[in-house]
């Protein structure tokens, strides 16, 4: 794969969202068409539940 990195701003935004998600206070949002990162939120509208990643109890 020809890896295309995130730019600095995108990376910082994603790290903040991931850490907020791991702390249990933010939900990660996936774009409903292509699964790209669509930001994070405290609350999720019902119709977006399938695209919202709550705190995933993974062991990393």
């Amino acid at each position: 794969m020809d890896f295309r990195p995130l730019n600095e701003l995108e990376r910082r935004h994603l790290i903040t969202a991931l850490r907020g998600n791991a702390d249990g206070n933010r939900v990660l949002l996936m774009d409903h068409k292509d699964t790209s990162f669509a930001g994070s939120a405290e609350e999720v509208p019902d119709e977006e539940v399938i695209n919202a990643i709550k705190s995933v109890p993974c062991h990393y």
Partner: protein, 141 residues
């Protein structure tokens, strides 16, 4: 419980997992929809995820013992060797091989889409690790 050869397994599929897959696929670009294949007694979900700018091809296997045993997710796209990646590019997600009480997969609460979302989060971490050399999340206690 056999996922495909017992009444309880089929009921679980028809009432829980297949409806959430349909919901996940609704309105999604074709390339990113989940496709289902039957391989022996295993159901394989094939899909793509793009947490950043890169598209990853993924397989999540629902074994015959699913949902008691958690789904297994492998990345088909070649990755650099990194933390939390097991042999065969299987994602280390649920403490495979751990006891039932310490396993983070809960069959009563989670569906196969939860495994897709866990893979998305893992890949988002991978994209950051690829650039910085640091996994952005601490190991859970």
């Amino acid at each position: 419980m056999g996922l495909l050869d017992t009444e309880s397994g089929k009921r679980r599929l028809l009432s829980v997992d297949l409806p959430v897959i349909e919901k996940y696929n609704e309105g999604r670009d074709l390339e990113f929809r989940i496709r289902i294949q039957k391989v022996g007694s295993t159901l394989v979900l094939c899909y793509n995820l793009k947490p950043g700018h890169n598209v990853y091809s993924i397989e999540t296997r629902l074994l015959s013992s699913y949902p008691t045993v958690p789904p297994e997710t492998r990345i088909q796209t070649l990755l650099k060797h990194c933390p939390h990646l097991l042999e065969g590019q299987t994602l280390c997600l649920w403490r495979q091989g751990s006891t039932r009480t310490s396993n983070r997969w809960d069959p009563a609460k989670f569906t196969c889409i939860f495994a897709v979302q866990a893979a998305w989060r893992w890949l988002a971490c991978y994209e950051i690790w690829h650039d910085t050399g640091e996994w952005p999340l601490p190991e859970a206690k």
